[in-house]
Amino acid sequence: METLAAEALRLDLDVIDYLILAIYFATVLGVGFAARRAIRTSADFFLSGRSMPAWVTGLAFVSANLGALEIIGMAANGAQYGLMTLHYYWIGAVPAMVFLGIVMMPFYYGSKVRSVPEFLRLRFNRPTHLFNALSFATAQVLIAGVNLYALALVLDALLGWPLWVSIVIGAAIVLTYIGIGGLSSAIYNEVLQFFVILAGLIPITIVGLVKVGGIDGLFAAVRDSDLGDAALHTWQGTASSANPLGANWIGIVFGLGFVLSFGYWTTNFAEVQRALSAKNMSAARRTPIIGAFPKLLIPAVTVIPGLIAIVTVKGLGADEGDYVYNNAIPLLMRDLLPNGVLGVAVTGLIASFMAGMAANVSGFNTVFTYDIWQTYIRRDRSDEYYLRIGRVATVGGIIIGIGTAFIAAGFSNIMNYIQALFSLFNAPLFATFIVGMFWKRMTAWAGFWSLLLGTASSLTLYLLYLADAVTFNSDLEESFWGAGLAFVTAVVVAVAVTLITESKPDDELRGLVYGLGGPTTSGEVILAGDKVWWRNPVLLGGIAVALAFLLYIPVW
């Protein structure tokens, strides 16, 4: 491919590639209009009428996380750190997904809450609820803006579209299909996107592996590269921090595998919402576990291409310009894919940006409508009224998202910006949740103060880091310590405040706390699986975790 045009990244799309892209846009919008016919109530709009089969919600669950930022970022990490990137999948995701399905989902789904903040309202009190609803809504529009901006950057680099054109078109399409079709539309498109993005990544991996002589050839080439043999191991060098990732096993297991991962997967409503839309308890519990199986294998089409890129693309790993690590996947597309599959790959990439944004927007409009508007501003209106508010909130969320896209444009490294947001919001939330779910004495005000002070502690650390008052080796290290600090603070405050305030009576906590069974969360229902063994969440979850261990063995 003769890419010595103005930008090294520019792809040569032909009319067929654009046709493939256009067919995808048409399908997405068609799904939105078709889903609209099924929407009569606000629950249809926000929770898909709780009617989805488990394989659909499971794929949507993993797809909501498989945004383009994730794909591009993990390929970049693969190129930069080697196989240690696998930790983000096997220890940093799968155990938390299984835990969500087996242990936490009975409380979420069984209590019939419509959002994660609503669970906090039932378990604790309104201040806790309001604080979480507001911080979640804010984080979602900020992240939606990042997705939109990143989409625009990629389209500018690959296709030469001006930034503002991509931002407006991307926003308009997401607005149309979510505003009209609600969560069903978002979920269906996520399932569709899951297959399209794989159809785009698989040919990159296949052709790339042929180029480097298969897995053996790839590993040999990596061993000879600057990364060296250390990049081919996941645990071997983790007794100290002298490994590509710069983290020892304690940091990996507790920081990444526990605090960050459990915080993200178990309390992030943009994810949990997919499971809440499942048609029954069993399907809801299987949702994250079904999602865990593709998650085990996705590194084959993200981390492996990252390694292929580092050994085949000359100059990759530059500090700035077209050859930064983040461009590993786009550069491989340029080098390896002929027109046709190239169009599919570009479509997959664009689709995943839009799906990422759609997940944020559909989480935002639900929390805004149910948890902020209906709870604090206009109560007891008709369901049609809240459905209308939901559509207005969608429009509002997307317009604010366009605004925050231009804020994101001011940050040099958007991935770090996202990591900072996660360590700020998710780690203290997870601590509050886990204590509140397993310790029935934890009081309502303990919930509020632990969430508030936990968030404040990691925010303080982040601000001190930005002001250079505290130093860390890397942004990654800061987000780990920030998350750890938030977690510890939240737990300590929860215990301390509980000792001086009064607990809720047991009856109010039925179905919300471990050991106090409600009608849907009695021990029998939680422990018993479905009637057929292959629908048993505990068994499926056990298989997923066992597979994660087994997959580590050849690359330990």
């Binding site: 109530t41 569709l192 029954n280 046709g340 599959v341 369901d383 009856d507």
Partner: protein
């Protein structure tokens, strides 16, 4: 949803109402048709392209006829979804409903 009522001070606005209206309206067209349709179309386009790939395209893909193979694979995936839809049509079989875990106010789900 009996446990809802015994939570004083925590009224659940319109909860019961919206739960009841849910199942009647939640009848969506099937996502398998969308996936199947899209991938059959993509498969046809890419397979046709792959049949007529010139040597430059094949060289770029390291000698792999990637359009042809991916086209056929997408065609197979699309066909699989359409076949699945055909063999087990939209109404979910009764075994899928889970009466114990699902003992809410709504009826057993029908997709």
């Amino acid at each position: 949803m009996s446990q809802e009522s015994d939570r004083p001070g925590d009224e659940q606005p319109a909860e019961g109402a919206d739960q009841e209206k849910v199942s009647a309206a939640a009848r969506l067209f099937d996502v398998r048709r969308v996936i199947g349709g899209l991938f059959v179309v993509y498969g046809l386009i890419v397979t046709l392209l792959g049949l007529f790939d010139d040597s430059a395209d094949i060289d770029k893909a390291q000698g792999v006829r990637i359009n042809l193979w991916m086209g056929l694979a997408m065609l197979a995936l699309g066909g699989f979804f359409l076949l699945w839809l055909r063999l087990s049509p939209t109404e979910v079989p009764a075994t899928e409903a889970d009466p114990e875990a699902d003992a809410g106010p709504r009826k057993a789900a029908g997709t």
